[in-house]
Symmetry: C2
Subunit: 360 residues, 2 copies
């Protein structure tokens, strides 16, 4: 349960280890640049590709990687229990992402030379913000151990959909971005649709969740939303700053936090059996996949936003379930069909809302 | 089961006994008058009140009457089985509506005198269209007896939501009215939301419905949609024609068809026990309620349209369930909450779509 929970939170741990406590400085920049402006009309020109193209590619990438990620989890479960230390795997993901960021940076330095935007060294002022999302996630992760005293596992999966609402609300409040009426309606539909798709005969038990369970679920949703919104703020604080440098610092703190976790929780096992005990080629594939999807989340935060991230991961959830139905003989339910219909219409309405904002 | 089914189809029988086979003559008029135009900008002036006011009042009326109607059905069930002949009750409803239409006409004749628009006599050409929806309903009612060979009762309740889609499609094709993209999305959401609200542990059995069951359900939905669309066409064929005259002719054919049904099905019981055997004051209340909601449907068809009717009856379905939860200790389910949320957002999106059409 906790293993599986930890695995599902996996990507988030890695990729929400980011922050932006001096968000206030940013707000001006963010507001000055209309969120849904047509390509190439944005003030900032942190890359040469049309913005919508980059956005589409990173969104597609995130959707595909997230889908295959959950399928790998199901697959590795099909082969039995996890035989390896999940925390060492988390650490490996962070390390791999660090290496990939450095490799990308090395290529850029060879090509363009070291500039103000792509140099690795940074000010204390800048670097001090990066561990905050990691801290938020740490608190959320601690809460996760306690919430199961009040909430059963299927109910927890349903309550996690509160993340969608909390992300929308914090996106509005903290980043001060506006969503149109249609887009708000679409966002609530996304939450309702995802929950509907997960309905089964035990779902109504969520209604018996005690008030403590609800409060903890709401706090966890807010922490998760905050981590996402902080990450977006930090990635966009300096639009011209090279994403690989930003990623490098985020992932360094991810490594630090995971190293601490290994010392506290898995020190003996790692000492006795070795760091990579129990790793199989599926474990390797999962680590590679998590690293790549972690980088995709960073790119979505930099070039798109939290709303796009939520849509991408929700659609990925449905794709995963569909693929699972084909390959793992999962049950196809009417609730899943209805939920998917609502989610699809939500995506459609969001894009209509976007078109209309552009037209204005 | 058939009793209960008949009761639920009750209002429809009464109020879809209407038609409009020479719809083609109409189309020009209908197209000439924009469906979602702001009040008082419509070409025709068949009444002096602002159109939106009439529309809102009849819609509210239909919603309230439909809600209380289902509650009366639950209530009368709580008191035991139906002790009376449902067909004689249907006939009584038709007769009561005829009387109410004539009373209303008498008042108008006293006030305004007999004019071309409010005279009761009519041409064969006009009157020949009125029995068509009644005929459509007859076929649908016959099918209803056969469909239970392929479809179980809870699945039938779910399949009835296909009516929403068939009404939208036929409204577009036959009446040639346009819905905006947002309104189409809202309409599909309405269908998904209503179905979600009805989900329970046995709902997935609908997926095992054989192909014959699906075909019959689709044909029934099309017949029901056709009856509704024909009624709207006939009511709007002559916008200046007094609604009470149109109602009178519709209800006369309703009486004729129900009299035929009594002869075929309940002749012996009525002969032995009397026409009003088993009637209680709840029966009387139900008959009054059905008569009034029947008239409300006619008014919605005349002053609003089928889309408004579908929204009103869907919202009424949810209101009924909510009231039932309070008074009859029905189970409050997560599915009901999610379905109601989706239906509410559908209503909201429909109104946004309407505003935008007006703004154009």
């Amino acid at each position: 349960m906790i293993f599986s929970g930890a695995s599902m939170e996996y990507r988030k741990l890695k990729d929400e280890d980011k922050d932006g406590s001096t968000v206030e400085d940013d707000i001006e920049n963010l507001n000055g640049r209309p969120l849904l402006a047509p390509p190439n009309t944005t003030g900032s020109s942190y890359n040469d590709h049309p913005k919508w193209k980059t956005k589409s590619i990173v969104t597609l990438l995130l959707t595909l990687l997230t889908s295959s990620q959950s399928i790998l989890i199901v697959w590795s479960k099909g082969a039995g229990k996890y035989e390896y230390s999940v925390i060492t795997a988390n650490f490996s993901v962070e390390a791999l992402k660090c290496i990939l960021s450095l490799l990308a940076l090395a290529r850029i330095w060879r090509k363009d030379g070291v500039t103000e935007d792509n140099k690795l060294s940074t000010s204390l002022n800048e670097v001090i913000l990066y561990p905050i999302p990691a801290a938020l996630y740490l608190v959320k992760n601690l809460l996760q151990y306690y919430i199961f005293a009040y909430v059963n596992a299927p109910s927890y999966q349903i309550l996690k959909n509160l993340n969608i609402i909390s992300t929308g609300v914090l996106y509005r409040i903290i980043l001060k971005r506006k969503l149109s009426k249609i887009q708000w309606a679409a966002f609530i539909l996304l939450c309702a649709g995802c929950t509907t798709a997960q309905l089964d005969s035990s779902s109504d038990r969520v209604l018996q969740t005690p008030i403590q369970g609800w409060m903890m679920a709401i706090v966890m949703a807010l922490l998760s939303g905050l981590a996402g919104v902080y990450t977006e703020a930090i990635m966009k604080k300096r639009p011209s700053r090279n994403i690989n440098v930003q990623n490098f610092w985020l992932y360094v703190f991810g490594m630090v936090f995971n190293a601490m976790a290994i010392f506290v929780q898995d020190f003996d096992a790692v000492m006795n059996k070795g760091f990579f005990y129990g790793y199989t080629w599926i474990t390797m594939l999962m680590i590679l996949n998590h690293a790549l999807s972690g980088i995709a989340v960073s790119m979505v935060m930099k070039f798109a936003d939290n709303i796009v991230k939520v849509y991408a991961t929700s659609v990925a959830m449905l794709l995963t379930a569909l693929v699972s139905m084909c390959f793992f003989e999962f049950h196809f339910s009417l609730a899943f069909f209805l939920g998917s219909t609502v989610v699809s219409l939500s995506v459609y309405l969001h894009s209509i809302g976007k078109e209309q904002s552009r037209a204005k």
